[in-house]
């Protein structure tokens, strides 16, 4: 079932509409949230909150932007809120990172994840959204709440940083700790 039909059903309050919307977008959102937050549990919370908020507000969705863009926007805000809350609780610590076994359970390719974790949230998100999720730059700019040309500059910078670290990481000249 495509988004349009699922949204119609969801607006009528039908369970299958919600389930279809969830199955169409949950994996993309979860992947992105996990990479922003670096923690599986927090990512699950972020996704649950995102879908909960989206389903409650489904009646107000007018279709001016794509449904996925709308969901990403909610997810990105939720993730930033969680990061902020965690920093308030543990100001000297970054987000708790999943251990390797946990990461293996969800089949991540650790090398890329480690490199991404060295970037900041915005750089990480923009790289994933543009190159992994194939979202248009215009939509990404809308999600990040910046102008399109600013998004290009952020993406260029993120891309450059990622490439530099990735090449160093693969050559094993230096460990990621020294980066």
């Amino acid at each position: 079932m495509n988004d349009e039909e699922a949204i119609k059903l969801a607006k009528q309050g039908r369970q299958e509409g919600f389930k279809n919307l969830f199955s169409n977008h949950a994996d993309f959102l979860f992947s992105n949230a996990f990479r922003i937050l670096g923690n599986k549990t927090l990512a699950e919370d972020a996704i649950q909150d995102t879908f909960s908020a989206a389903f409650k507000a489904i009646a107000s969705f007018k279709g001016e932007s794509k449904f996925r863009t709308w969901l990403y926007k909610i997810m990105y805000r939720n993730s930033l809120r969680i990061i902020k809350q965690n920093r308030e609780i543990n100001p000297n610590e970054l987000l708790p990172e999943d251990n390797e076994s946990e990461a293996n359970i969800i089949n991540t390719k650790l090398d890329v994840e480690k490199v991404l974790n060295l970037l900041d949230e915005r750089e990480r998100s923009i790289l994933i959204m543009v190159y992994h999720d194939d979202l248009p730059l215009k939509d990404v700019a809308e999600i990040l709440e910046i102008k399109e040309n600013n998004a290009k500059i952020v993406l260029y910078r993120a891309r450059k940083r990622f490439s530099e670290i990735w090449s160093k990481f693969n050559e094993k000249e230096v460990g990621t700790d020294e980066l």
Partner: protein, 185 residues
Amino acid sequence: MNCEEFRNRLNKTTQSSFSEQEDIALESHLNSCKACNAWLDNLLITPPAGINNLSLLSAPQKCFPESLTENKNIAVSEDKSLLRTYLSGLKYGLVFGLSIICGLVIVELRNESKQNVFDDSPQIPPFIVFETSIKDIPSFINERSYANQSFFENENSEMPDFYSLESDKDLNFYKINLEEENYDG
């Protein structure tokens, strides 16, 4: 900022040297330069090596909101809210209509009571014509006594001094009257 400077500065900026002002300067050049825009678009098409290795993670089913049972009734609650709006509108409409009816009834009652008062009062012919003429005015009212009375009534008032108004022809008879009275006295 020219194109060369833009490209150099964009290459030099890293996360550590990033500043908002720098970003604004770069963005303003990008807004005005089509060549740099095209150059950057072209660069950004190719994904960086390694990023394709990212896999799509599957979201656990427990991420599906538990509170969806509440959401089942979204459409229903929407209908309910519409019904509530309609009912409240109807309520206000009824109150408005009733107040108008009450007002009309009160006005009607007042008119009726007025009518009753007129009905109870003795019948008076609608038009009474008093036929009067100058001849009917009593003879003791003449010009002189009226004038004297007016003068003495106003003697202690703050009316203007009549003696100073000798030149006023209209007031001459007041003066004459006064002189006559003084002579008599």
